[in-house]
Symmetry: C2
Subunit: 324 residues, 2 copies
């Protein structure tokens, strides 16, 4: 087994090898910029870790892992155009730094690159890996469409929201683990179970993200609290609050969410206050615990040494910012 | 061997099977709309015909062929956003009918669908087919970037233009034939030669397209003559005209190409007049003949019955609107 830092080094060094001068530079500049931006590299990390845990040869998993990371970055690049997001990971988004056309086309090219990285999987596993990748790829697009739909829909249910984050986030985390397990050539049962585990962890991860966006410490996470509130994003927190709110609170929340200014600090403060009145932080944590427990139960069924399972628990905990 | 109409029926019936209700409809509606729009289905036709000519099982080639068609349609969908094109094949473009976000995301999904169709190739050929597809996919994006660059570059050389259409159009036609040949399991030499042949035919095809845009009969092709001239597109015709023009004609051409109105009939008429003064139609046909002859020489080297070669010649001729 390797350390998290070692996996990250493997990934970074594979990325560095790709950053060579290519023409036309107008196309490849935004791609290199995006790949260099960093981020947590969570998806390739999951692929390498899973491959390692099932005693696979992680060198066979590096390029497929890079494919998953490149795919993820491609979706961010296009999402930023659709959401008109100016900043990503502290840098101007491609769409802002250059323009929408460059962002569309360099995103398209990244998608082909992602497939090209995945093509460097062991040949006899190509069909299985592409099957996972295509399914997940389509689901991520479906999730993004639901997310966009929610912007204009006045009624969004909690179930619809959970389905959306499942598609947009959880399936790719599950798929990243699944690809690692396929490359390790573990049993079909293990491959399915580790996908399910990753999916549950993915739900925890996204709910945690929603929570941090509202209540995260600004210094630690480098962005202003309440970004989702500023853009009137219907997150779990907001939808749960609507569900639990008194008629008066409901009315106020809906009114606050009709304000279009992103710099209305009073609005942010008041929404957060209502969230606190309704104990939304605890409600979210309770749901996170449900997914966490679900993941834990799946883990029990996986045919794997206890010490390897502990690595997965540690990982899930670190994503939930729990004590290990 | 089958007839062209039979190949087209195979493709259409495979497409029809895909047009089932899927959710979210906001995502799949523009995809079905695009796939239903029709068009010549040239790329899948080339795949099936090539597979057939090399005695392959064309049923194995139908889904890979559909993958190439879906990829091509995805590029059109995104190109229409980038070019702000309102009409495609007589219908409003996705970007106009819905909006840019829907066009971006449904295009992305079509790309995944394209890969999913190609995944239905014979398993032992997946690596070879994806290798072709990824290379071509990247080159098509590069071609589109060069095409966009030309819009703002004052100096574009003829060589640069030919490189651009090579990447944007010819490689995909070559690749479509190559995939058919791979599925037919013909020799490595034949696979390379048929790609080269398709590439040459692709150059003829694109130059023919440029020519028809300027001089095509409006009734037959259903669009106004001079579309490229209206949008100041630096085609082979324009660049060749600049090369052959007197200083006065050069100055006039550059001035005419600075007019931004798309409805300036006087401008179109005057540019066409200059093209005629400089014999640009013949110049273009001369270059088309060069690529045609190149394709013919490649064809001679292919290990294939003469009657099969005649089918390919007939196809190339039909693309050039020559008499057979």
């Amino acid at each position: 087994m390797h350390t998290i830092e070692e996996y990250q080094e493997f990934i970074q060094s594979a990325i560095n090898k790709e950053l060579v001068q290519r023409e036309p530079k107008e196309l490849y500049e935004p791609i290199d910029y995006t790949l260099m931006m960093g981020g947590k590299r969570l998806r390739p990390l999951l692929t390498l870790l899973t491959c390692d845990i099932f005693d696979g040869d992680i060198h066979q998993a590096i390029y497929p892992a890079l494919g998953l990371e490149t795919f993820h970055n491609f979706t961010l690049l296009h999402d930023d155009i659709m959401d008109q997001a100016p900043i990503r990971r502290g840098y101007p988004t491609v769409y802002k730094k250059w323009n929408a056309n460059r962002a569309i086309l360099s995103g398209d090219t990244m998608m082909v690159m992602a497939y090209d990285f995945i093509l460097q999987s062991p040949k006899d596993l190509l069909f299985d890996i592409f099957t996972v990748f295509n399914r997940v790829g389509k689901e991520v697009c479906e999730g993004q469409q639901y997310d966009m739909n929610f912007e204009t829909e006045s009624k969004v249910t909690l179930d619809e929201y959970l389905k959306m984050i499942h598609l947009k986030t959880a399936v790719l985390l599950g798929g990243s683990m699944q690809v690692g397990a396929i490359i390790a050539r573990t049993s079909a049962d293990n491959i399915q179970l580790i996908y399910d585990f990753g999916e549950s962890v993915g739900m925890v991860f996204q709910l945690q993200d929603d929570l941090l966006d509202a209540f995260g410490n600004e210094d630690v996470f480098g962005k202003k609290n309440g970004g989702d509130i500023r853009t009137n994003k219907k997150t779990f927190l907001y939808l749960k609050a609507l569900e639990l709110a008194s008629p008066a609170q409901q009315k106020e929340l809906i009114e606050l969410y009709s304000i279009q200014s992103e710099n209305d600090e009073q609005k942010v403060a008041r929404v957060l206050e209502i969230f606190q009145e309704l104990n939304i932080e605890n409600e979210t944590k309770r749901l996170m615990d449900c997914y966490y427990d679900k993941g834990f139960k799946i883990l029990e069924k996986i045919d794997l040494d206890e010490n390897k399972k502990r690595v997965l628990v540690k990982l899930a905990n670190s994503l939930m910012k729990r004590a290990n």
